[in-house]
């Protein structure tokens, strides 16, 4: 069932030939020797015109006849028992069509799926029914209404009377770990069992070291804040359910609802034609999806339920906090001998706070040990957030390495190079060189002596860097269909969603490449489980490397059928024909026909080819790497950090659309900059409420914070699929905060150990005092 093929892998001039085992029936692999016409060029997004004119209809924009508006009532208490809920006044309000309460924990258990974040709360389920439901965080769902207008729905929430019995709560990470702290779940401590992983012997490693650094690094809880909030528009027709959903996984959303309502998945259709971002917080139907559908069923009318910004910041996911103690040992020449990481953090009532990925993947080190603990608190739950765990882990690791380099008197970049892990087709050395050159790394100076920076009173400049690493995920199952109509129209169909990365355009690019057309000649259908063309959720940098091989296989199938139908008209055999430049041409340079003319000879109204994605080829494309360098200026009077420039060298395997790929690199850098300088959720301990649940007080980077950003793409050929695309979503956000923090530490001569790098912390560092 497999055959051996030779492929050329590598990058730039560093190419080599290797053998790969590929499943039977794979098309010719696009490797380093392949020249392509459309793939890899800069293609403006096909949906650009719809987006710039406001015509693009997102879930939030869907309006159906007779549609009602849903709203959710949320607990103001971080921990309480619900004694009574009286919805009678709300139900009597003119215009209110349905009221539901979430009185049983089973509701939440029922809407839970593997990837929708909220815990399956076995502990809560086990509580006696007479105990009434507990709410576990401020912002947890208590009741919901559907009404004829948004305004009436809001009025109705005010009429619901809930009597709470407040219970002791804990929202502070260090408080939550103390013995005797209020427990989130009565059956066990808030601090969960440590996950321990070890390789070699770290104690022996530290004994071999000439230099050892250790430090404790802290990162805040960050919030996704995709601009389109979570939400859905649900419509029942008999026993079938159609849902327009703001989700990064239409199939997962569908399956959750099918499970919740105990109906076959085929009776649920989920549509996401346009999606206003997700960043990891929009997997699964969750409470929002289930509630929209439940309200619609109760009201017997379509219901639109979109969360507001406040709710987005309370109950739709977060990047957990972390406290990381890290110890790194090295020989005099910089060779690492041991890394030991002990961390804890909290995503709230659920969600892993692990951060050890970077220490296990980034640098060569024989002795490694990580011990990671999740702490439960009475706050909203975690969801994967763009490279889950990696920006946090990268901050601690890269900071420790810079400190190590300074102590050893080594260039921080040389220290990284010294501990390079060699792999075939790994472009990291090239990326280091390109990004370092673009920033002018040779200008980096040793940090000033403590106190010297502050004394000068002048703006301080600094340079820093970090390495990105992320595993390559993605693979089957994924299905796609390509159709050619007799008028020459071409369709490419896959159920997948375009989270904003340009998936729609990428599908057209690959189809156009195979059929010798331009991308704009391909009509793409996506974001619809009704297509039946399964694809995974868009998360973990898997979308293009999962779907494009299926798209290509379908396009190759359609191509073969087309050539077979057209061949007689050209008096040639199908295998002697080629599709190129919008024409079907004889390879010997003889006759040719325009593509549409050829299509008019088809014997059926349409030809269609459906294909499934093959398994990944073994031993290829294991990881994504990148390097980022930052230059900052710090005002020692105000403590303000300005990032002047970031150079970001990344790879995504084969580049599909250069424009979109560069945009994604920019976007990762900007999100990382925002995390480094501005973002943190603030919770008031006495009340357990989020104080900055809006976009004014939860700061995200805007136009004024923008540095010069130089995205650099190194095209890498290391195909684990017929296209050689690997992914790009996560890596650009991984090292940015670390690179900026290192640049700031380089400027100040003081190691910055806590994100975000706010002016108060800068001033405290310069003054040599402990942070407030």
């Amino acid at each position: 069932m497999a055959e051996t093929r030779k492929v050329r892998i590598g990058y730039g001039a560093r190419l080599e030939e290797v053998e790969v085992q590929v499943p039977d029936g794979e098309p010719a692999i696009w490797d380093a020797a392949t020249r392509l016409d459309v793939v890899g060029t800069a293609v403006p997004r096909l949906d650009g015109p719809a987006k710039v004119t406001g015509r693009a209809k997102y879930t939030y924009d869907v309006t159906l006849p007779g549609m009602l508006f849903g709203k959710i009532l949320r607990s103001p208490h971080p921990h309480a028992r619900i004694v009574t809920i009286d919805t009678s006044k709300a139900a009597r309000l003119a215009g209110v069509k349905a009221v539901i309460t979430f009185e049983t924990p089973e509701f939440f258990a029922a809407v839970e799926s593997e990837d929708s974040g909220r815990p399956v709360d076995e502990a809560a389920k086990a509580e006696p029914p007479a105990g009434k439901r507990r709410v576990l965080f401020a912002g947890e769902e208590v009741a919901a209404v559907a009404a004829t207008t948004q305004e009436i729905a809001e009025d109705a929430l005010h009429l619901i009377e809930v009597k709470y019995e407040p219970l002791p709560h804990v929202v502070d990470l260090d408080e939550g770990r103390k013995p005797g702290a209020p427990r989130v779940f009565p059956q066990h401590d808030n601090t969960l069992k440590a996950e321990v992983r070890e390789q070699g012997d770290v104690e022996a490693g530290f004994k071999q070291a000439d230099q050892v650094v250790e430090g404790t690094y802290r990162t805040p809880v960050a919030l996704h804040n995709a601009l389109e909030p979570h939400g859905a528009v649900a419509r029942w027709e008999g026993k079938t359910l159609t849902v327009w959903a703001s989700t990064q996984g239409v199939f997962g959303f569908r399956d959750d609802l099918a499970k919740f309502f105990k109906i076959p998945p085929a009776d649920v259709r989920v549509i996401t034609e346009y999606l206003g971002g997700g960043f990891g917080a929009k997997f699964g139907a969750g409470v929002v999806g289930a509630t929209a559908a439940l309200l619609a069923r109760r009201a017997q009318a379509p219901v639109k339920l979109m969360l507001d910004r406040h709710e987005e910041n309370l109950a739709t996911g977060n990047r957990p906090s972390s406290v990381q103690w890290i110890k790194v040992g090295a020989k005099r020449d910089g060779t690492l001998t041991a890394i030991h990481l002990k961390s804890y953090g909290s995503g709230g009532i659920a969600g892993g706070a692990g951060v050890s990925g970077p220490i296990w993947m980034t640098y060569a080190c024989p002795n490694l040990r990580s011990e990671e603990q999740d702490v439960l608190l009475n706050t909203g739950f975690a969801m994967p957030f763009r490279a889950p765990g990696f920006p946090q882990g990268s901050f601690a690791l890269e900071s420790a390495l810079d400190e190590l380099a300074d102590r050893l008197g080594l260039d921080p970049l040389d220290l990284r190079r010294k501990n390079y892990i060699e792999r075939p087709a790994k472009p990291l050395m090239e990326q280091y060189a390109l990004a370092a050159k673009a920033i002018g790394w040779e200008r980096r100076q040793a940090p000033p002596a403590q106190g010297a920076a502050r004394a000068s009173g002048k703006p301080l400049r600094g340079l820093g860097m970090g390495t990105a690493v992320w595993p390559v995920y993605g693979g089957p199952p994924t299905e796609a269909t390509v159709k050619i109509h007799t008028d020459g129209a071409v369709e490419c169909i896959c159920g997948t969603q375009d989270i904003g990365t340009g998936t729609r355009t990428a599908m057209a690019i690959v189809t156009a490449e195979v059929l010798g057309l331009k991308p704009e000649q391909v009509r793409v259908t996506l974001g619809d489980t009704g297509t039946g063309m399964y694809s995974p959720a868009s998360g973990g940098s898997v979308t293009l490397n999962s779907i494009l091989p299926a798209v290509r296989a379908a396009a190759e199938g359609a191509r073969q059928k087309y050539l077979k139908s057209v061949a007689p008209a050209l008096g040639a055999k199908p295998e002697d024909l080629d599709l190129h430049g919008g024409r079907v041409v004889a390879k010997d340079g003889g006759k040719s026909l325009a593509f549409a003319q050829g299509a008019s000879r088809l014997k059926t109204a349409v030809i269609a080819a459906q294909a499934s994605r093959a398994e990944n080829y073994k031993d290829r494309a294991a990881e994504l790497v990148g390097a980022q360098f930052a230059e900052v200026e710090v005002d020692p009077e105000t403590g303000r950090v300005r990032v002047l420039k970031v150079t970001a060298a990344h790879e995504c395997g084969r580049v599909i659309n250069r424009l979109a790929a560069e945009s994604q690199v920019n976007g990762g850098v900007i999100m990382g900059l925002s995390y480094a300088l501005l973002e943190r959720r603030v919770i008031d301990s006495p009340t357990g409420n989020v104080l900055n649940a809006n976009l004014e007080d939860y700061k995200v980077a805007g136009t004024l914070e923008m540095p010069e950003i130089v995205p650099i793409l190194v095209e890498v050929y290391d195909p684990a699929n017929s296209i050689g695309v690997k992914g790009l979503g996560e890596p650009p956000v991984v090292p940015t905060a670390a690179a900026i923090a290192n640049a700031v530490s380089n400027a100040l001569g003081v190691r910055m150990t806590e994100l975000p790098l706010t002016p108060d912390r800068i001033l405290a560092a310069l003054a040599g005092t402990k942070e407030a």
Binding site: Y58, E151, G667, E696
Partner: protein, 218 residues
């Protein structure tokens, strides 16, 4: 009546509701502020409950001029211009993201000046000329600014894009040859979570016919 760009932004009076609370958007925000202040005048006059001329609380007839067309709707006076556009007129290009004047996703032009439609009641837009993203270019066509946004990939998920286009249009109408710094200032009341700002700067400068270095943002 309109305050011109660059002048000191007027500060709000107190005792106003959240709906009326105003956020400026940098230099361009001066104009935004002025537009809103002017629009509020009728409401303040009839602010006392039951006073002659008071609207509501029940639905009232509101006539608006949107993208050059008269539009008539019956809504409660508390309905914002944004909700009126989106929920009653199916003009969904302006996006509801923060609903409190923090993100710029709902920007529309009021007599040519950019305002946050979430911060303005629909009744207060009576007698004003409202241009939404749908009215920036004739139907089926693209404004040169929109063409530049597409060509430069100045959008990713696209949810913030209508607001950026509207605000950029207002900037170029007043300042046809802006500097990069003027572009940053004019758009600083807008948030893009995908991180498309560098390409937005490029698009606006390109549409203004100013040289832009590809991949470079300063």
């Amino acid at each position: 009546m309109e305050q011109s760009k660059g002048k000191k932004r007027k500060r709000r009076g107190h005792g106003l509701t959240r709906r009326a609370f105003l956020k400026g958007i940098g230099v361009g925000g001066g104009a935004l502020g002025a537009g809103l202040l002017a629009a509020e005048a009728p409401r303040r006059e009839g602010a006392a409950a039951g006073a002659p001329g008071t609207l509501g609380p029940g639905p009232v007839q509101v006539n608006l001029k949107i993208n050059g067309q008269p539009r008539s709707l019956r809504i409660e006076p508390r309905v914002t211009l944004l909700d009126a556009l989106r929920d009653r007129l199916d003009l969904t290009g302006a996006k509801k993201i923060c609903d409190r004047g923090e993100c710029g996703g709902c920007a529309v032009l009021l007599d040519g000046k950019p305002v946050y439609a979430c911060m303005l009641l629909a009744v207060d837009a009576r007698g004003r000329s409202i241009t939404t993203i749908e009215g920036i270019a004739p139907k089926g066509d693209l404004h040169p600014l929109q063409e530049a946004f597409v060509a430069r990939d100045a959008l990713q998920c696209g949810f913030c894009t209508p607001g950026f286009v509207v605000a950029s249009k207002a900037l170029l109408d007043e300042t046809p040859q802006p500097s990069l710094d003027q572009v940053r200032q004019a758009l600083c009341g807008h948030i893009c979570r995908c991180g498309t700002y560098p390409r937005i700067f490029e698009a606006v400068l390109a549409a203004a016919g100013r040289p832009v270095k590809a991949g470079r943002t300063t």
